[in-house]
Structures are given as structure tokens and as C-alpha cells.
Symmetry: C2
Subunit: 530 residues, 2 copies
């Protein structure tokens, strides 16, 4: 899913310069509040080689009070550090109550290096457990933990390496490990996705930052960090509109206190002034800026003839794969999510057309009712799991928890926030059991959706498909878009990946769904030949 | 550590009959409160075969409103259940909000069976993770989870099997699996201890119930369940003294509502009356009744001559084992806890007498200060870990968290309660790394302690050892005793076991410490020959 993140977001130098001082001043304020409140803060920077993490640290620390600030560049463990359990060197770097520790690479460096270096990665799961326990212990003790993954494409990384290598003064920065990363970018990506899913917890969440544009990345990192600190330290900035903001910017720049000034300037106001730190008109930073959906190519089309030919072939293959599933006593779960009228029903119909009717079951998931409503939300999906040999198709699914339930407020924030981890755990148990899991998000444009809504209104036998809720959901397009982006990023794992389907053209969408299923099933069950 | 539990605790039939009605009535009340509050309750009964779990369930359910009550006897998975991921059948049995589900055996049956049946137990860790995630998901959704381990000795189990087998009407109850358990009692015990340590969480704690005497076990189970429900449902009983209680008993027995009575009797009072459910004068039930310390044989002694001979030999062996530790680049951690004046210092002195001074380090742990005070409590122990090749001795340790910090209130209840899991995790990481971990509790009687205190007062060069704090700790003997029992039970794992040392006689205590170390080190490093 990482490859789908919008890495072209950027900020002009002018915009950046307008904003950076305010953000840095606000970080200074909050660091002082944390010090007063004796709350330790750990910030971990991970990301592709070439993302200039050291420069990023410089931007963060420039205005900070050096007392109580610790910066740790993390290399491979030194010989003497190998004399101890692997987390020893990180326990030694735990900040004191009130201190801020910044890690240029972190405890994740070793896990990733090990996973990508050895073919087996047998200790992968244990190591992930170790860090989750480590972070949980610190968080329960009151620490704020923020983790960043700075993301660039393989191509961008190559470009940066080239530039670094061209200059003898910077060439040394590109290490053998970095070159390996460049060569095996896809393998690393898999590892990173799995890592984010396994170790992203409410106590210590990951934030993926598009880092192609350094100005954007710096502002996104600072804003994410500030947002987290504001929530955790209970100092929320007052919402202001854009006009107020322009003024706020100047005010705060003027009010900025330099660490070199006399001591009293370091004492934080007991009530930090809201106007010193307006919320910037930037979009929510961090994981929400992934913009996965906005980048889907909705121009993809398939003509009628190609569609018919391919559909026929794929359906025949699916028929054989259904038999193989039964013979091998494996089970499969296909999840369909997508915009209203994106064509979930139509795709499912084509998918199942040539399957043995005993080999599959379709579960249409609406609001829970009856016994399902009276239990943990995962109950209704556990009880609908397919037995060995069967394929279960979910037309909407457990992802409702982080989509409609999140947006309509049916689930409290704490509940849907912990759902990402619960869902990852749920799907992991399925995959451990041998279940094949495919997940589809069917995507179209708001315009195309409108066209389909209107068509439904005018075709009597389709009119039932359109409800008042559909119109209401449409008004919340932007909220859904952000929720979908976050869902795709947090729950796409190598074992249970998401496929975003370009469904602006129904034919293209259906064929992509069927082809993805065939490929996935063939990889698990072996090739079939017609 | 399970073998140290006091299994001889009992209750007379008269006492039992006096109390059981009140407890059952109180359970009825609380079940109604849970129903109203829509809080689901899961109670799991695990334990040795022959502990009459079905009878226990009968006692619990006798007076309960059958609506909202579910009883599930759990057998091995049936063929159709094997068609699904292993937790499927338990998810299907999750009680609805407000319902009470009782499990005669539970999801732990399968884990234990697998662990003890196969030689490898490779999925052990994964399965434990699965159930921890399962229970956490339910608990975060509001469920109350209580888990019991009904404990009897191997001998007692044999006696019960014999009785059952003698009667053709009950002989069928003793299964092949039960016989295996009897034959491999020690292997099962190891598995159970590891299981309790891995899956006992604040959200779903284990309670070990001595089950030799059925009356005692029933009352202990009921009281533990009631205590948990009262805390979780916010209905604490008012503390009453013994006289009040006798009256309370009659009142509540009279006030008992039979489920057969008209419907209005089933509606719980919105404010459950305190006198209907007095706290019984029984001791705290569950894990706290382990009475491990009270059963230590303090009559064990060693004469001077034997002592000198054995000490000399053990010290010579330790010398060689210290070299082996270095040569094999392993590390070791020895933890000494115990009563004031129990002889920790003396034992450590004898232990290290013949070790190469470069091969070990002794850390004396008092109240944290400086940088240690400013961080997570485990920090000061992480940074004192021995490197490969070295042996670190902790004179007092991280267990202060669940001893002095618990009793003096230096740590809040939530903090010391989660410390058991944190400590188990910490020690597991040490053991995973290859560190050898031995833990000693040095035990003596209050009388002997007093004698030593007085001796210290009168010997000038020992007087410094005696402080006002020692006298104060002495007054809290009973509280410490309960805390130590709980600590031993919750943190003794096969990988990092506790050894309780009979230290009433200094000579005996020292030799036991040294011998245990030699045996443990030899098992890990290989035998040494003098």
C-alpha cells in the first residue's frame, strides 16, 4: 500500500518560511510544558535512506532548549552492545521524565536490517513483540511516543544517491546497506508494511510522511508532533479561521523566544497562549496525507469485446480454482468495500457466476442487528467465516468499524482507533490458519457516482438500490476519503493486502477484481490450466 | 511454584453451609447488575482433571436467573470446528452484553493439550498471543474476564481417580487424557506455570484456587468472582465487623430471592443493599490464599561440619562455573529478595568468595535516586545488566515494585499490578538472549528475625545494618507475606523460576543458595568436575 501514497505533495519555499518559525516556536512551548509536566517524549525517525533524517532533526531542534533534549543517531549495534539483550541500548537511551529524545533511526533499524538480511526472518515476530512490549511499558508509564516513516519512491532514492555520490564530500553518506535497499526496494517495502501493521499501536502510532519535498515533509512532521503533544499534554490550540491565522503567524513569530534569552523566557506560560500557535491551514498531517485515493487512475477503460473475452476466461479459471480450494481444503475470504454505486454487487455477481454454488457464500453486511448487535463487533464476522474448502465473500465487512462507524460516530474514537490493530490481528489469525484473504476497495469519482445515482432513480428495477443514506454519504466524501486512506495504509499487510480497483469503468473494475482473485488464488493453490 | 501452594486449606461443612447462600444470593444480585449495565462476563474454569469443575459450576449457577446465563462444557474441537481458525468456536460462545458465560474448560484446554502432547510446542507462543489478543479485544469492549486454575497435588488426583474408577457409574469420567496428566504431572505443571505467566494480564487475570477441600474451593471461587464483579461494576460492599456480619448473614439469607418467584423479584435494586452482601471474614480469596511462605519448613538445619565441607566444595564448583560462563560467553543474573536480616548479604558473600572478582558484580538496590528516579522503574535494572561472560547479583531488585512499592504505596495499584506482566516480559527477553536467571526468596520466621535484630543492636559492628525501617517493615509482616505469595506465584516461570530458601538456619540457607546456583549453572553450561 505504501507505493500508493501521494509522494508529489509539496510546499513552496515561501510558504515553508512563513510557517516554520511558528511551528518551531510552538514546539519550544510544548517541550517546556512536557518538562513541567514531567512527561517524557520519544520521537523515532525511520524511513528510506536518502531522506535526510539528520537535516530533519536539525529543523526540529533548532529552537529547542538544549537542556532536556537528547538526540541519538542509531547505528548498527557496536561490539559491546552485542554483549547485552538487544533492547538494552535503547533502554539506556530512555529520556528522563520531561525530557525529549529524538532518534535518528531507532530500535526499528535492527529489526528491519535482520528481516531483510536473512532469508528466514525467524525472529521477526518475536522482535516485533519485544518492541511493542517496550513501547507499551513506556507509554503506560506516561511517555509520549511518536514514530515517523519518511517515504520516497525507489526512483527518487536513486536520484538522491546519484547526487550524493557525485560530490566527493557527500559520497561517503551512501553506504553499502543503502545500496542494498535501493536494489531490493520491493523486499524492503514488504518488510516495512508488515512492520507498520505489527508495531503501530494506539500507544505508539506510526506516521507515514511523504518526503519527496523536504519543505512539505518538515512541516508535516512538525505538525504531527505538535498535534500529538497538544492532545497528550492537554493544550489544544484554539481553532481560528484563515484571516485570523495570517495575523497569528506574525504574532507568534514576534513572540518567539530564543533559547539564548534570559532564563525567565524559558519558563512556559502556565496557560500557553492560543494565538502564539494557531492551527495552520495545512491539511491534517501524517498518515492522513497519504492521498491514496486521489491518485487512482480513473481513466482506465476496457472495451466491450476485450471485456467479454477476458471475463469468460477468468470465470473459467475461477471455476477450477474453486475446485482446487475444495480439494486442498483451504478457505478464502474476499472483502468488498467501496463507494456507494461503485459496483460491488456487479463484481461479486461476475466473480461467482461460474463457481460451484456449494463452494461459496456471500454475506451482505449492513448495520448489525439481533445477536450481532449485542457482542463485540468482530463476533458477527467470526461466526460468518468460511470452513475449509469454502470461499466467503463479504459485501462490506469489519472495515465498517473504521469507515461508517467512525464517520457517523457509532464507534467512539478510542474504539475505532484500536480497531486497526484488532483487525490486523483478526486477519493474521485467519492467514495463520491458511485462509486466503483478498480485500478490494472499489473506487470511482464523485461525478460518476452522481451519474449512477441518477440512472438508478430512473430505472425502476434499480431504484431500490438508492437510499437517502447514499445521498448523505455523498456529502461526507472528503471525510470518507481520509478514513479510507488511513484504513488502506494501516491494514494493508503482505499477508492480507488491499487492492484498490479503478471502477470508474465497470468493465475495467470487474476484470481487475477477477484477475486479482485468480492471481492470488493461483499463487496459493497452484496454477490452473484451461 | 505451583507445588508450593498450600493445598491443605479447608472449611468445615457447617461454615460452608452458613456462607454459601449469602454468596450465591450476592452473585444473583451482581449478575442482575451486570445485565442492567450490559456488561458481559466470562468465567473460565481450568484445572487438574478430578477437580470436579462441573460440580463447581452447579454451585455457581444454582440460584442464578437462567436467562442470560450460558454454560459451555469445552471438549476437544469437533471435526466441523477444525474447519475454522481455532478461536472460532470460542468467538461463537462470546456472551451478549449483560450475559454471564461459564466455561467448564476453555480456550486454554487446546493450548495445554497441544503443548503437552507434542514434543516441540512450536505454536505455544503464537497460541498464547492469540488468546491474549482475544481476551484483550473483549476486555476493551467492556467484558469482565475471570479465569480459575483449580489446583490439587498429583497424589490427591490419584486418590480421586481411584475412587471414581472403583464405581462403575463414575469410572467413565477418567479419560485417557486424564491418565496422561497423572503420569506426566510434572510436565503439565511446567506448562501450566508458563501459561499462567504468559496469559495472566490485568484485563484477564488468573486465580489459582486450592481445590483439595471442595468447600474451601467453592467459597474461594465465589468470593473471587464477587470481588471482581464488585470492583468492575462499581458495587463495593460496605466493610462490616464480625458481629454485624453474623446478622448480615441471616438478613441476606432471608432476603434471598428465588428465581422461581414472580418477575419483579428479578429486577435488581438500583442501589444494591450493602447488608445483603457482607464481606465474609474469610481471607482474601484466589491467588492470595496460596500460603506459599507459611508452608516453608523452617526446621531445616545444617551442622557446622557438614556446612564447612559442602560450602568448600560448592565454592570450588562455582569458581569453575564462573570460568565456563566466561568461556561460553553467557551471562547470568542472580536475584536476592527476602526478609530483613534473612541473610541475603551473607549468602552473597559465600557465593562470590571464590569467584574471579572480574567475573561478577553485586548491585545493592535501595530506593531509586538520580537518573534512575527519573525514568521507568525498569531502566535502572536494564542499565545494570551483565554483559556476556559476566554474572550480576542483585541484592534486592525489580521485585521491589511489587513488594515495598506496593505496600508503602510508592506505586499506584495500576502500576504494580501491571508490573507482574512487565517483569515476566523483561525476564523473558533476558532468557531469550541466553542469560541464566535465578531468583531467591530468603525466608525466616518473625521470631528468628527478632532475635537477629536484637543481636545486631548489641554487636557494634553490625548495628549499622539495623534501621527504623526494618522495625516498621516487621509490623507489616502479613501484608508482605501476601505480596510475596502473589509475587512468587505470578512471576515464577520455567525459564526464570523462584527458589524459596529456608533461611531460619543461616548455614542451611547459604548451602541451599549455592547448591541451587551450581545445579542451575551446570544445567546451562555443562557439568564441571573438581
Amino acid at each position: 500500500m505504501l507505493e500508493q501514497i501521494d509522494l508529489e505533495v509539496s510546499l513552496s519555499k515561501r510558504e515553508y518560511e512563513q510557517r516554520i518559525n511558528t511551528l518551531q516556536a510552538r514546539l519550544y512551548d510544548l517541550a517546556q510544558v512536557a518538562l513541567e509536566a514531567r512527561v517524557p517524549v520519544l520521537v523515532a525517525f525511520e524511513g528510506w535512506a536518502g531522506t535526510a533524517k539528520a537535516r530533519m532533526l536539525g529543523v526540529l531542534t533548532r529552537r529547542l532548549d538544549p537542556r532536556g533534549l537528547r538526540v541519538y543517531p542509531i547505528t548498527s549495534p557496536r561490539t559491546y552492545e552485542q554483549q547485552y539483550p538487544w533492547l538494552y541500548r535503547f533502554w539506556l537511551k530512555v529520556p528522563a521524565y520531561g525530557e525529549l529524545a529524538l532518534f535518528d533511526r531507532s530500535w526499528y533499524r535492527e529489526i528491519l536490517a535482520e528481516r531483510t538480511a536473512t532469508s528466514e526472518g525467524s525472529r521477526w515476530r518475536e522482535r516485533c513483540d519485544d518492541v511493542v512490549a517496550f513501547e507499551r511499558a513506556l507509554a503506560e508509564d506516561g511517555a509520549v511516543i511518536v514514530k515517523f516513516w519518511l517515504h520516497i519512491t525507489r526512483k527518487e532514492q536513486a536520484r538522491r544517491f546519484k547526487r550524493l555520490l557525485a560530490d566527493p564530500l557527500t559520497a561517503y553518506q551512501v553506504t553499502a546497506e543503502d545500496r542494498r535497499q535501493q536494489r531490493h526496494y520491493a523486499i524492503y517495502t514488504d518488510a516495512v508494511e508488515d512492520l507498520l501493521a505489527r508495531t503501530g499501536t494506539p500507544a505508539a502510532p506510526w506516521h507515514v510522511i511523504p518526503a519527496t519535498d523536504k519543505y512539505f515533509a518538515r512541516v508535516a512532521v512538525l505538525k504531527t508532533l505538535l498535534d500529538t503533544l497538544e492532545v497528550r499534554l492537554g493544550h489544544k490550540a484554539v481553532a481560528v479561521n484563515d484571516e485570523d491565522q495570517a495575523e497569528g503567524l506574525d504574532d507568534s513569530a514576534a513572540a518567539f523566544r530564543h533559547p539564548g534569552q534570559p532564563d525567565k523566557s524559558r519558563v512556559p506560560a502556565t496557560e500557553p497562549s492560543a494565538q502564539a500557535s494557531p492551527r495552520l491551514p495545512l491539511e491534517p498531517s501524517g498518515i492522513e496525507v497519504a492521498h491514496i485515493l486521489r491518485r487512482v487512475d480513473l481513466s482506465l477503460r476496457l472495451d466491450e469485446k476485450t471485456y467479454s473475452q477476458q471475463l469468460k476466461r477468468l470465470q473459467a479459471e475461477l471455476h477450477l480454482l474453486g475446485l482446487a480450494l475444495y480439494r486442498q481444503q483451504r478457505s478464502a475470504v474476499l472483502v468488498f468495500e467501496g463507494w456507494d454505486a461503485a459496483g460491488k454487487g456487479g463484481a461479486i455477481q461476475r466473480l461467482t457466476a461460474e463457481l460451484d454454488p456449494r463452494a461459496f457464500i456471500v454475506h451482505t453486511i449492513a448495520a448489525p442487528s439481533g445477536e450481532d448487535k449485542l457482542r463485540h463487533y468482530l463476533y458477527r464476522f467470526w461466526r460468518r467465516l468460511p470452513p475449509r474448502g469454502q470461499l466467503a465473500i463479504f459485501d462490506r465487512s469489519w472495515y465498517g468499524r473504521v469507515l461508517v462507524e467512525r464517520i457517523e460516530g457509532f464507534a467512539r474514537p478510542a474504539a475505532w482507533q484500536r480497531a486497526y490493530a484488532e483487525i490486523n490481528e483478526f486477519e493474521r489469525q485467519l492467514v495463520d490458519f491458511g485462509t486466503i484473504v483478498c480485500k478490494f476497495w472499489l473506487h470511482l469519482s464523485p461525478d460518476e457516482q452522481l451519474r449512477r445515482f441518477e440512472a438508478r432513480q430512473h430505472v425502476s428495477y434499480k431504484a431500490w438500490k438508492l437510499t437517502a443514506e447514499d445521498w448523505r454519504n455523498r456529502e461526507q466524501w472528503a471525510q470518507y476519503e481520509a478514513a479510507v486512506d488511513e484504513m488502506l495504509l494501516r491494514t494493508s499487510t503482505p499477508a492480507a493486502p488491499w487492492t484498490v480497483v479503478e471502477a470508474e469503468d465497470k468493465r475495467f473494475g470487474r476484470v481487475k477484481v477477477l484477475r486479482t482473485c485468480v492471481q492470488r488464488l493461483e499463487r496459493e493453490l497452484g496454477k490452473v490450466s484451461l
